[in-house]
Symmetry: C2
DNA sequence: TGAAATAGCCAAAGCGCTTTGGAAGACTCT
DNA sequence: AGAGTCTTCCAAAGCGCTTTGGCTATTTCA
């Protein structure tokens, strides 16, 4: 059942039927009702390919997925996706993943924009002065950045959490508990979130006249193994830290294992606070010593990004609005006063 | 730059240019070269929306993503996706994720097929007699099942690993080591992979005149917490098992924690073998006691599924070919002879 | 009451590609 | 030389929608 047939059986023109269905004003309400009715009764659904050719709108949102033998997709992605899906489902929005060589994403961005494959895109895990952000900005497709890019030289719409504030609070708590030597096990420090977290820790330390020693901060891909290694290195050096802030729950697994291997205990010998993106399958309260965390649901962020993308597509949102979510600090058993 | 313009500047008809570009035989090789050349020089890329309207082919593969407030996407998904992306990138295939109400995926399958949004789909984590498989089979869209569905009453193309064989081997090893009371901490037993794994364990036990007691098998969503709970329950009962086979590395984290909480040790008091889908961020050799595993890269499976889908789309593969991959049994420190 | 405005509808022209149904010329064969 | 066969190209008809530009009544207003 296509528009032509529907129009014919209603003894109306395609124009009128199309307009009736799409809510244009120049059609009699009585007629519109008849059309709507017949459309529903016959299960008419406009052909998206045709609509797309005519309008250039696809009803999809896009994401360029960096891939490659050496590239691992972050497990956070799946949680973000859950949230995105929650919203998208309710609005019949589909998500197009366009895999791209991690070292050349530009080609793919240009392709999906030129082909008008998607109505909007989002960008995640941005770096400072991220080229992708600059690119989509000039390409003129609606977009939202999940996270922030600094020093871009222009404004853009984003959704981020207050990473600096979160780690500032975490560090402040540790300092109040008497810790003087803090360490930070961070994610890849080319990414803005890691930079912000480090900044938060430094700011808290500075407020008490302390500093974050070079040997007390490491920046690694967030795996259990890297958490382990970093912790071993930190704790086996002179002037080992008495407290660690850690950028992910997965790395925290490694931290805990290292501490145990060294015959130390949490929080007796080491206090630990990690960032929790809220995975359903790994919860900080279930660590052998319940883990204190800075918590923010990445899933909710996914839903919100989808919502804002939809708003941008339909013109309800515009301009370079940034949105920063506060982060909860949840104190559990893994922190205690500094050892004497 | 569209076809019309290109044709005009070559002083050829659209027909000829189109055919030259798409490799049809009825065009002079000399002419074809001229056309190809001009196309490249002017950066001509056929408009996919138009091509799609004309041919009904979209150049995309689809996946219906079950979502909902109570639905968590499996973290395995992201690894599978990595593999899929690896292949898809090299072939300019995009992946469309269509979020659907987990309880009504049929509507979404019908929509994407009716709308011809994708050229092929894959289905993952099937159940026995899975309705999705029956549905896409009747809808007539090319598809591949990742995993297997049993008792469907028809054949279909799939890619699966030998779950039964893997867990049979794992159980056999444990039995050879003198274990008589095995337990299985399994995934959701509505899914075929879980059924197969249980079958493998039972078969190994039966071969030695043993059985898997009802109280020695549990079927849960694969989270750390559920692994912990299951293990507590298993080990705190009379006739506690001396060895556990576990369906995921994430649950194994919980198993290890429970064992430790109970003041027991691995492998002294309990032997443990888990299935490893090969996550980059959590490796069995890095468990406090290196974990024995049945191993199969879900990422490679993703790449293979993409490859076969592409073959099906282009007609190179057809019929109900099933493909079952063997699984490695990797023995590490977490298994030992049964305690006396 | 006549001109102007408005409401409601339609025919037809796109959107940019593929594909059908020729047609003209070159070539082969008897 | 005439009939048949290739080879190589083209005009035009889709694919199914949206949108432009008009056209005809009906209403509004001075």
């Amino acid at each position: 059942m296509n528009l032509k047939q529907l129009a014919h059986m209603l003894a109306l023109s395609q124009t009128t039927v199309s307009r009736a269905l799409n809510g244009y004003p120049e059609v009699n309400e009585e007629t519109r009702r008849r059309v709507m009715d017949a459309a529903k009764r016959h299960g008419y659904r406009p052909n998206p390919s045709a609509r797309r050719l005519a309008t250039g709108k696809s009803g999809m949102i896009g994401y360029v997925l960096p891939t490659g033998a050496a590239v691992d997709i972050d497990p956070h992605f799946v949680e973000f996706l859950s949230g995105l899906g929650d919203y998208a489902r309710a609005h019949e929005l589909d998500l197009v993943l366009s895999p791209a060589d991690a070292d050349d994403q530009e080609t793919t961005y240009r392709r999906i924009v030129a082909n008008r494959q998607v109505d909007a895109v989002y960008i995640s895990s941005p770096w400072p002065a991220d080229r992708r952000v600059a690119l989509v900005n000039t390409l003129g497709i609606p977009f939202i950045v999940h996270g922030r890019s600094e020093d871009s030289g222009f404004d853009y719409p984003y959704l981020d959490i207050d990473n600096e504030g979160a780690f500032h609070e975490a560090a402040r708590l540790l300092i109040q508990l008497g810790h003087r030597r803090l360490a930070l096990i961070n994610g890849d420090d080319r990414e803005t979130f890691a930079i912000h977290r480090e900044r938060g820790v430094r700011r808290a330390l500075a407020a008490s006249g302390l500093t974050l020693g070079d040997r007390h901060v490491c920046s690694v891909v967030m795996t259990e193994e890297n958490g382990y290694r970093a912790t071993r290195r930190l704790l086996e050096q002179d002037g080992a830290p008495t407290a660690i802030a850690c950028s992910s729950l997965i790395m925290a697994l490694g931290v805990v294992r290292a501490v145990r291997d060294l015959g130390l205990t949490i929080p007796g010998d080491l206090s630990l606070i990690a960032h929790d993106d809220v995975f359903p399958w790994l919860r900080p309260e279930n660590f052998s010593v319940p883990l204190s965390t800075t918590r923010s649901s990445i899933r909710l962020a996914g839903a919100r990004v989808a919502e804002r993308l939809a708003a941008r597509i339909s013109g309800l949102e515009e301009g370079a609005r940034g949105e920063v979510w506060p982060v909860d600090l949840v104190v559990r058993g893994s922190v205690a006063g500094a050892p004497v």
